[in-house]
Amino acid sequence: MQKFPHQPQDEEGPVFNAPWEAQAFALVLALHEKGLFSWQEWAATLGDEIVVAHAAGDPDLGNTYYEHWLAALETISLKNNLSSAVELDRRKSQWYAAYLSTPHGKPIELSAGD
């Protein structure tokens, strides 16, 4: 029986729909364990992101959860000076370029000069 649209049939628990969701999840736990933010601070940041997404028209049915999670992770990283918007943007472009310059099947690596 489908209780809500998009509800996966996961009787024994989720977990992740894609590797990036697991990576984002683990990053938050690792940063918290390192004492870089409190869990209360994290929960508040995530709650805010969900409210913002909801207001922007996301029906928020649970399938976009890790998008909110990642947005909150970026927000808290910037707020606590773990990274900067410029740095993140630059690194994203570097990864994009690395994919384009790496032959298919070879490991993707950032070149030292980037």
Binding site: M1, K3, F4, H6, Q7, P8, D10, E11, E12, G13, P14, V15, F16, W20, A22, Q23, F25, A26, L27, L29, A30, L31, H32, E33, K34, L36, W39, Q40, A43, A44, L46, G47, I50, H54, P59, D60, L61, G62, N63, Y65, E67, L70, E74, S77, L82, S83, E87, L88, R91, K92, Q94, W95, Y96, Y99, L100, T102, P103, H104, G105, L110
Partner: protein, 213 residues
Amino acid sequence: MPHDHHHDGHEHTEPPSDIELRVKALESLLVEKGLVNPDTLNTIIETYEHKVGPRNGAHVVAKAWADPEFKQALMADATEAVASLGYCGRQGEHLKVVENTDDTHNLVVCTLCSCYPWTVLGLPPAWYKSAPYRSRAVSAPREVLGEFGTDLDGDKKIRVWDSTSEMRYLVLPQRPLGTEGWSEEDLQALVSRNSMIGVELARTPGQDTEALK
């Protein structure tokens, strides 16, 4: 094809989606700065994908059904009692166990985001994180239960527990009738994840677990 001058067509790798690039960017920067260790990340993923799950909670519930002393300890201080079984929280949160009785049924939600007793239930199912569940568990709990196929007597009280980052809840379902003398292990099979969130009851003996999917 933009690269058709290459005879094999394999001179590059298709970049992943924007969201994957965002994660890669953040992760690689944080690792470089020494703020996270890649081994720690792998351990966390491994743990949550394979080791932590609703079986932990079923163990706790079955033990509480079978062992009155453990149940007493569990109701008094659930954080401590589940830790004695080896299930420890990573976020310093407290766990409270709420017991279903003949008069009262308990239902757990997190209206703010999706706080959930990870140590005993693993990661929350998608519906638990959805806006409809988060709001309707509070405004129309009986209806929500009905959608899960759980029809309670009209005079049974429903208590809804709103989780926070400091306090998580686990429902102790009522032990099904006809299980007198059952071993803890057999009892565990009757405890579904959903029964520990409170949207369902524990399975009854003979109920085909597959049919409950």
